[in-house]
C-alpha cells in the first residue's frame, strides 16, 4: 500500500477490542506513513481511551445511540444517522475495514462509501458479504472455534495487509519505576474471574515475599464494592497501608499512568491487561472460563499466561457452569511464585518452573511465555515439552493458514507428543481422509455443473441435481466436524469461503468454488501428512503386520 490512501476502521465493540485495533493500526501506519486513518467507534467505549487512539488515528468519529433517540422519534433518529453517515462519507474513503463482526457494524459498513471493503458488510438484499480471506477466517474460526493459533491483533494486521511485525520499543526507564504491583481481580463474566479468596491469598503471599511492594487494585465503578471486600479481610488487616484501592476512583487515563509506573500487572484477560501491554508493564494473566489466550492475550513479549488444563477449557459463553472447575486448577502458590519472580526481574523459563514448582502444581495448569516471531505474537509453553491434541492442531493450523492466506512459509518442527496424544491424532486420520474424499467430490460435481452450463441446451434438472449433491457434501462435512471437532477450522473456513464465492452467474460462481474445493482438498492432504509424520514414531507394527499406535 502506498501514497495517501484513506482508510476507515470500524470498531464498534468494547474497549479491549479498541486497544487491539489500535495496536494493529499502529503497525499499519508504521508501514504506510502516508495513509490517513479514521476510526469509527461507539462513544461509550472509545471516549475513555481517546488519549491513546489519538496517537494513531488521524480522525476519530464517535457516535452514541442514545443521542440518536433524544427526541424519541424514529424520523429524527433516522435524520441523525443520516448526518453521521454523510459526515463519514465526506472523507471519500479508499478502503473501509470492519473489525467488529457485530450486526450493527455490518450495516454501518454497507452504508459507508468506499472503493473497497474488508470485513463483513451487507448487500442490498440484506445478505452478509465477506470478500477478503482473513475476514472469512475470523467469521468461520475466531467467532466459534477454539483452534485459533493467532493473536487477534495479528489477525487484524493480516486483514489490513501489514507485512512486518512492528512493535513498541522497550521502556528505557523501566528500572526507574516504583515497586508497584497493579492488580485487576475483576472480569466481565463470573466464569473468567478467579475467586476473591484466591486473590486474597495471593496478595498476602506476595506482600510477605516482597516487603517493598505496594499494591494497587484497579477497576471500574462496578468493581469498587468487591475491591473493598477483598482488602478488608482479616488476613490483609496488617497490610492495609500497602494496598490502595483505585477501583471506582480512576479514569482509564489514570490507570494508564499507574501502569506506566508499575513493575508488574496481575489480572485476567480484560481491557486493563491490554492497557498494561501499552505501558510495557510485565503482566501475569490468569486465563479462565471462556478466555482463548492465544487470541486475546495482551500483545506484549512480557506476558506470562497461566491456563488451566481442564478439558472443558475454554468453554462457551452459553455453557452453564456452577462449579467452575478450571478455577481450582490455578493454584495461588503457582501464581505467587511466578509473580514474585517477575517482580524481581527473574527470568521465567522451563528451568525456573521445574526448580520452583512441584509436578502437582504443573499437572493442573499450563504456563505460557509470550514472544514475537516474524509472524507476530506467539505463546510458548514453558510447563511441558509435550503438546496435547488441541495444541498440536493449533500448530498445524498456524502453518497451513499462514501459507494459504498469507503465502508465508513457516519453518517449524512438529510438536512433541505422548503416546496418548498420538492415539488421538491417529483417530483423526479417518476424519481427514473423509474430508479429502468429500472435497474431491466437490471438485467432481463443480466440474459437471460447469460442463452443463457450457452445453448449447442446458438441462436445468441435471444442474439442480449436481447442486443438490454439493449441498449433501456440505452436510456430510458438517457431520464430519461433529465427529472430529478439531477439523472444524478447516470445514467452517471453506463453508464461509464458498458462500462468498465471487461471480455474476452460476458458471462463474461454480468456477470459483471449484478452486475452493481444490484448495480444501489440498489442505486436508497437508493435515493428513502432518498427522502421519507426528504419529509415525509412535506406531508399533505387530506380528500380523497391522499398525497400531
Amino acid at each position: 500500500m502506498n501514497k495517501e490512501i484513506k482508510v476507515a476502521i470500524i470498531q464498534l465493540t468494547r474497549i479491549g477490542d479498541l486497544i487491539q485495533t489500535l495496536q494493529a493500526a499502529r503497525q499499519f501506519k508504521a508501514e504506510n506513513p502516508e495513509a490517513k486513518f479514521t476510526l469509527i467507534a461507539r462513544k461509550q467505549f472509545a471516549q475513555g481511551i481517546l488519549f491513546l487512539l489519538e496517537t494513531v488515528f488521524d480522525d476519530i468519529i464517535l457516535f452514541d445511540t442514545k443521542e440518536f433517540f433524544k427526541t424519541k422519534q424514529l424520523a429524527e433518529a433516522t435524520k441523525e444517522v443520516n448526518f453521521l453517515i454523510d459526515h463519514i462519507n465526506q472523507h471519500k474513503f479508499d478502503l473501509a475495514i470492519n473489525l467488529s463482526y457485530s450486526k450493527s457494524s455490518t450495516y454501518l459498513c454497507s452504508l459507508i462509501q468506499a472503493k473497497c471493503k474488508f470485513g463483513p458488510h451487507r448487500n442490498t438484499k440484506n445478505e452478509i458479504l465477506i470478500e477478503d480471506k482473513w475476514s472469512q477466517y475470523v467469521y468461520s474460526n475466531v467467532l466459534n472455534g477454539t483452534s485459533v493459533p493467532f493473536s487477534l491483533v495479528d489477525i487484524y494486521r493480516y486483514i489490513m495487509g501489514v507485512q512486518e511485525t512492528l512493535v513498541l520499543d522497550p521502556d528505557p526507564d523501566f528500572h526507574k519505576r516504583d515497586s508497584n504491583i497493579v492488580l485487576h481481580p475483576f472480569a466481565s463474566q463470573r466464569k473468567k474471574k478467579w475467586g476473591l479468596n484466591r486473590w486474597n491469598e495471593l496478595i498476602y503471599k506476595l506482600a510477605q515475599e516482597n516487603p517493598d511492594a505496594q499494591f494497587y487494585i484497579v477497576g471500574g465503578q462496578e468493581d469498587a464494592d468487591e475491591a473493598a471486600r477483598l482488602i478488608h479481610s482479616p488476613a490483609l488487616e496488617k497490610l492495609q497501608k500497602r494496598i490502595h484501592i483505585r477501583a471506582g476512583k480512576d479514569k482509564i487515563s489514570d490507570t494508564y499512568q499507574l501502569l506506566s509506573n508499575a513493575k508488574l500487572f496481575i489480572g485476567h484477560d480484560s481491557m486493563v491487561s491490554h492497557l498494561a501491554a501499552e505501558t510495557l508493564t510485565p503482566s501475569l494473566i490468569i486465563s479462565l472460563g471462556t478466555v482463548k489466550p492465544f487470541e486475546t492475550s495482551s500483545y506484549s513479549a512480557h506476558t506470562i499466561n497461566i491456563v488451566p488444563k481442564n478439558k472443558c477449557f475454554p468453554c462457551k459463553v452459553e455453557t452453564s457452569c456452577e462449579l467452575l472447575p478450571c478455577h481450582g486448577s490455578i493454584n495461588y502458590q503457582v501464581v505467587s511464585t511466578i509473580a514474585s519472580a517477575m517482580f524481581k526481574d527473574v527470568p521465567i523459563n522451563t528451568k525456573f518452573l521445574k526448580s520452583h514448582l512441584t509436578p502437582m502444581h504443573l499437572n493442573t495448569a499450563k504456563i505460557f511465555q509470550s514472544d514475537y516471531d516474524a509472524n507476530g505474537l506467539t505463546l510458548n509453553e514453558l510447563s511441558s515439552d509435550y503438546k496435547n491434541t488441541q495444541d498440536v492442531f493449533k500448530a498445524y493450523y498456524k502453518i497451513i493458514w499462514l501459507y494459504y492466506l498469507r503465502s508465508t512459509e513457516t519453518n517449524a518442527e512438529l510438536p512433541e507428543i505422548t503416546k496418548d496424544t498420538a492415539q488421538e491424532l491417529y483417530r483423526y486420520l479417518g476424519g481427514v481422509h473423509y474430508l479429502f474424499e468429500l472435497y474431491n467430490f466437490g471438485v467432481k460435481y463443480s466440474n459437471k455443473i460447469i460442463d452443463c452450463t457450457d452445453k448449447k441446451e442446458t438441462d436445468l434438472e441435471e444442474i439442480q441435481d449436481y447442486i443438490n449433491k454439493l449441498g449433501e457434501i456440505d452436510q456430510l462435512c458438517h457431520i464430519t466436524k461433529k465427529a472430529y471437532p478439531l477439523l472444524q477450522g478447516l470445514v467452517d473456513y471453506f463453508y464461509v469461503n464458498k458462500a462468498n464465492a465471487l461471480g455474476n452467474n452460476l458458471k462463474e460462481i461454480t468456477q470459483n468454488n471449484l478452486l475452493n474445493y481444490y484448495d480444501a482438498s489440498n489442505l486436508a492432504a497437508v493435515i493428513n501428512d502432518f498427522i502421519e509424520k507426528s504419529v509415525n514414531p509412535h506406531i508399533a507394527v505387530n506380528t500380523d503386520a497391522n499398525k497400531e499406535v
Partner: protein
C-alpha cells in the same frame, strides 16, 4: 404511534421485501442499522 411500534412496522415491511428477494433502499439499510444498535445496547 410509539417509537417501538414505528420500528416494528418498518421491520415487518423490510422482512417482506427481503423474503421476496427484493432490493432494499438506502433508507431501509439505515433503519436496519438503527434497530441493530438498539438490539445490541438493550
Amino acid at each position: 404511534m410509539s417509537i417501538q411500534d414505528e420500528i416494528h412496522k418498518t421491520m415487518i415491511d423490510i422482512q417482506k421485501k427481503t423474503k421476496n428477494g427484493e432490493e432494499l433502499s438506502y433508507e431501509e439499510l439505515v433503519s436496519l442499522f438503527l434497530t441493530s444498535l438498539i438490539e445490541e445496547e438493550g
